[in-house]
């Protein structure tokens, strides 16, 4: 997670670098520390440093870290020849290094030579089965080939050992949703809720999955999780408001509106929606009210 101060610092540095104010190295270090994906910028500024021998040697031993960072960024930007050059430099410096081996395998992957890359990754994993990056690369590779079932298999294998890695759970949840395997996705989102119960997006995604699954119990739960999202976002999340409204509409369908507490939450979310639309996009208010009417929300 990126904290607020770090985020501000990043934006400040980014502006500074873009306007030629220096601080490039600080910017690159921060990107690396926060594990952000700013490949285009990292490639542009990092390769400029690497091209200048004086600047490069001023970094001391950090020079090699920069080579690695820029090589990865270059692969992400499809500058494969340049990436190859950087990896060669690293190879010359660190012979037999696993970390450089990883880069080589990634280069194979970037070229689309799937079977070669796969072979390289598995031989690296044989040496060190705890390399989380390689496990994740394998998942990404399966995903890049459109082999979602394979990606799920790799992810499950990875999570069997590293079961506290919430990013992996999130990835798995999203793959399950895209394959419409909602029960499995619900489990993953529960796992995410357990690790970080204060993030509204997980509540929202879980509610979506429950709502899609349907059934009385799930709809009740979905309504509650939409409510939790509303609470955590202060009523600013439009999707949660819509979800809350439609979940309650589903629950009360075919019944008289005898549940008083339900209808209150429903009308309140409808009112909040109307207000938000009036403020932010007045042209779409009519569309909203017709949508709400179809849900029998507005009276």
């Amino acid at each position: 997670m990126v904290s607020k101060t770090e985020d501000e610092q990043l934006i400040r540095l980014e502006n500074q670098v873009e306007n030629g104010g220096g601080g490039t190295w600080e910017y690159l270090s921060l990107v690396r520390k926060l594990k952000l994906r700013r490949s285009d910028k990292v490639f542009k500024y990092g390769s400029a440093i690497l091209a200048d021998p004086k600047k490069r040697s001023a970094l001391g031993p950090e020079e090699w870290t920069l080579y690695e960072q820029v090589a990865i960024a270059a692969m992400d930007c499809q500058h494969l020849d340049l990436a190859k050059g950087y990896i060669k430099v690293l190879q010359g410096k660190f012979r037999e290094s696993k970390r450089v081996g990883r880069l080589e395998a990634m280069l194979l992957e970037a070229k689309g030579l799937w079977s070669e890359a796969e072979k390289a990754y598995s031989s690296l994993l044989e040496d060190n089965q705890f390399d989380q990056v390689i496990h994740k690369r394998r998942v990404a590779m399966a995903k890049a080939q459109g082999n979602l079932a394979g990606a799920i298999e790799w992810l499950n294998k990875y999570l069997e050992t590293f079961m506290a890695d919430h990013d992996a759970w999130r990835e798995l949840a999203e793959i399950y949703v895209s394959l419409q395997m909602y029960k499995q996705a619900a489990f993953c989102y529960e796992e995410l809720l357990l690790t970080q119960p204060t993030i509204p997006l997980y509540h929202l995604a879980y509610a979506d999955v429950l709502y899609t699954l349907g059934g009385l119990e799930n709809l009740h739960a979905a309504k509650k999780y939409y409510a939790a999202t509303i609470d955590l976002t202060g009523g600013k999340n439009t999707r949660a408001l819509f979800g809350c409204g439609s979940a309650i509409a589903q629950l009360t369908r075919g019944r008289n509106r005898d549940d008083k507490d339900n209808s209150e939450l429903q009308s309140l979310s409808a009112a909040a929606l109307e207000k938000a639309y009036k403020q932010q996009s007045p042209t779409k208010v009519s569309a909203l009210s017709s949508a709400l009417r179809s849900l029998k929300v507005s009276s």
Binding site: L194, T195, A221, D231
Partner: protein, 247 residues
């Protein structure tokens, strides 16, 4: 405790300064030796997995109220059932750490290497100091101290009449041994291997047993009362929305 003792300047030149310099040099040397001998440890798959299980179970315990009761019960069963629960440790399997240490020669080897790099130079320097500089009064600190400090500052001098502010050479050795840590972290970088005091503490606390913490986590999980927090959120959401709409 009559008049001040006069310390020969030769003592400063030939005892005090060489002693400090030697201590620093030995510290640096030891850092490099231990760096050479250090083997990168490959963690055991089982231990990594157990660590992760513990984190996950702890999360479950802390945030149990955020998931529906059914999901919570399913998870708890998964962790702590008696047949193949992740947190369940079969009785006979709980290895005691001592046995584990002897069964794994690598571990014993590592311990020995650590001890070698720690104890041998220390005994050697201590013997050296003892042999050459025993009974020296090496320095005087510029402020008076109470009698209690005698044992600390005048180790090796068995005179009760010398003022406590005089430091014997052997005590100077000890002061250096423990006081140079800050200097080492300056020369060798933050996390250097010459941290004697910490290593001594580690020796005391040796024998961490992961199976024990698994069992503790299981007990904790078993007594968790699940109370779904979400129904409360509905009311809170209502009040949030009311405020928002009225604004």
């Amino acid at each position: 405790m009559a008049e001040d003792l006069v310390l020969d300047t030769a003592i400063r030149d030939w005892v005090l300064i060489p002693l400090s310099v030697v201590m620093v040099l030995i510290g640096v040397l030891r850092y490099f030796v231990s760096k050479l001998m250090r083997s990168d440890q490959v963690p055991d798959l089982k231990i990594v997995k157990e660590g992760q299980v513990i984190i996950r179970a702890r999360n479950l315990r802390a945030a149990a109220n955020f998931i529906p009761a059914k999901s919570f019960r399913a998870r708890r069963h998964y962790y702590s059932n008696e047949e193949n629960g992740l947190l369940h440790v079969p009785k006979g399997q709980a290895q005691n750490p001592q046995a584990q240490m002897f069964s794994d020669p690598n571990m014993a080897m590592d311990m020995m290497k650590k001890n070698l790099s720690m104890i041998i130079p220390q005994t050697l320097t201590f013997a050296w100091v003892n042999f050459f500089f025993s009974g020296f009064v090496a320095a005087k600190i510029p402020f008076p101290l109470t009698q209690r400090f005698r044992a600390m500052l005048q180790n090796g001098i068995d005179l009760s009449t010398v003022d406590v502010s005089y430091v014997s050479s052997r005590s100077w050795y000890f002061l250096n041994l423990f006081g140079l840590r800050g200097l080492f972290s300056l020369i060798l970088g933050e996390d250097n291997a010459t941290d004697d005091t910490q290593r001594m503490m580690q020796m005391g606390g040796f024998g961490f047993d992961p199976t024990r913490s698994l069992g503790a986590e299981k007990d904790n999980l078993d007594i968790v009362q699940h109370e779904w927090a979400l129904p409360k959120f509905e009311q809170r959401a209502e009040s949030v929305l009311k405020k928002l709409v009225q604004k």
